[in-house]
Amino acid sequence: METYPQILLENRKPDHINTLAEYEQNGGYEGLKATLQQHSESDIIQMIDESNLLGRGGAAFPTGFKLKTVATDAPLPRYIVCNADEMEPGTFKDRVLIHTNPHMMIEGIIIAGYSIKAEKGIIFIRPEYESGAKILERELKLAEKAGYLGKNILGSNYALEIVVHRSGGRYICGEVTAQLNALMGKRPNPMQPPPYPTEKGLWDLPTVLSNVETFAYMPHIIRHGPDWFKDLATTDTGAGTKIFCISGKVNQPGAYELPMGIRLSEIINEYAGGMLNGAEFKACLPGGASTGFLPKEHYNIEMDFESLKKVGNRLGTGAIMVFDQHTCLVDATLNLTEFFARESCGWCTPCREGLPYIRDLLARIENGDGEQDFIPILEDMGKQLWSAYCAYAPGAVAPLQSLLRHFREEVEAHIHQKACPFK
């Protein structure tokens, strides 16, 4: 088993939260010092842009580009928001980061905040992570005491305050624009741009929102440079490392920091301890619940955003959920659809009504009441949900569409046998 560099999860010890002092001993807040002492705002954006850092929240949006879209003459105050909602099923990397090295993401938020002249930072966190919220609140205070936050950070003129905002708990709150509504005390429906949040976000002011993991990379990029970051990946198309969350039918489920582009087979066999005894790899969801089933033929795929796109799938959040030969994928899709139908915000018709429709048909198929006619309807619904209001619905039908593409016989077997073949 090769040991890859640990950037985000360095000094990870079981049940141990790195203290501020420990973080500092390992180069913590050096990136911030360099930022404030040596770099202009645009230098920082430039470096992040050159690093090819793609957002780790699931959409793989180029982070540098996002920072660049805040106009230099945009109104003040500006906001920097850290998305710690992490509600994508299968995903728990942000939780691991918060519980391993909370200051790393804090430092990243400050650096990104500086680059866009933000005065206010907010960490939006799901209620299930109450312990994480408490850690962050505690560590933010310590960071402020140490002069990394507040007025006059490290003697520079830069001032930033960061608060923790607890969510009331709802999957859609992870979506950028819905999150902004949630932060403003409005119903967390998404809002289709334009205007873009970087132009008019919170309270109509420029707002940059990124994922916990995305922020956590920033201090390292500043310290070691964009090229170093790019070279961490094993593929040319990838950049940096990635925390992969592995769960399902493997021996050692967990979060592993590995190079972007590492092969799926290597992740499962080497790091996740292989498949469970007697289990054979049948498929996995490579990036959370809103990605498609990746069949066995891609067992060796290089795990980066580009490679998965090539096979019609997505790396999403890098949450790999592994299924074996005994898993009924119709039932799994039903479970996922149930999740999405329940969590839909209810704003647009396709998602609000289409998902329960799909759920109903899948439940019938799974229970042996399926009809051949259901398959074209399901195919049709899968396609039509792409014209929903936000990215939720296309993600929600990814499992269904891949089920019909790669495991159609399994669906048909349910219908023909009038029962689930796995039960």
Partner: protein
């Protein structure tokens, strides 16, 4: 009635922010912790403190999973029913809890201590099957562990 201490704490917090509305979830959670659930009265109090209408608070209180608009037990058990926990035994964990507490999903135990609710992925797929009790996580669960947890909570109650 809201104790003065809680009210003052919230009012201080509200006075500190630019837009009172941004604290609506915090306020709802605080009042819910106090009353045990977000009663009609609590909705109205939240609204009054934040300069919102009761309806505007209700638009949000009914949206969020962790705001309870109906009475719940002292301990709210959220069993994860999303993919990984579901594969790893959600069904039997749920059934075991129902049987132990003598309730159905959504119900509250006769002693008023436990309410059982299913919840979507809680971000502990590496510890499946998992559950939250009052926003604290437990997993991977086995019947034995569940017995211990319930025992402990009962003795603390």
């Amino acid at each position: 009635m809201l104790p003065d201490e809680l009210r003052e704490a919230l009012e201080k917090q509200i006075a500190h922010v630019d837009h009172p509305r941004e604290l609506v979830v915090d306020a709802m959670l605080a009042l819910q912790d106090h009353y045990g659930y977000l009663s009609d009265e609590a909705v109205e109090q939240t609204a009054a403190m934040l300069g919102m209408s009761a309806l505007e608070v209700e638009e949000l209180s009914t949206f969020y999973t962790f705001i309870y608009r109906e009475p719940v037990g002292k301990y709210v058990i959220h069993v994860c029913d999303s993919l990984i926990c579901w594969m790893d035994g959600f069904e039997s964990i749920k059934n075991y809890l129902c049987q132990k507490l003598d309730i159905e999903v959504g119900g509250t135990s006769a002693d008023g201590l436990f309410t059982l609710l299913p919840v979507c992925c809680i971000g502990y797929c590496d510890r499946a099957p998992a559950m939250l009790i009052n926003r604290k996580v437990y997993g991977p669960l086995t019947p034995g562990k569940i017995d211990q947890i319930l025992e402990k909570l009962r003795s603390e109650a």
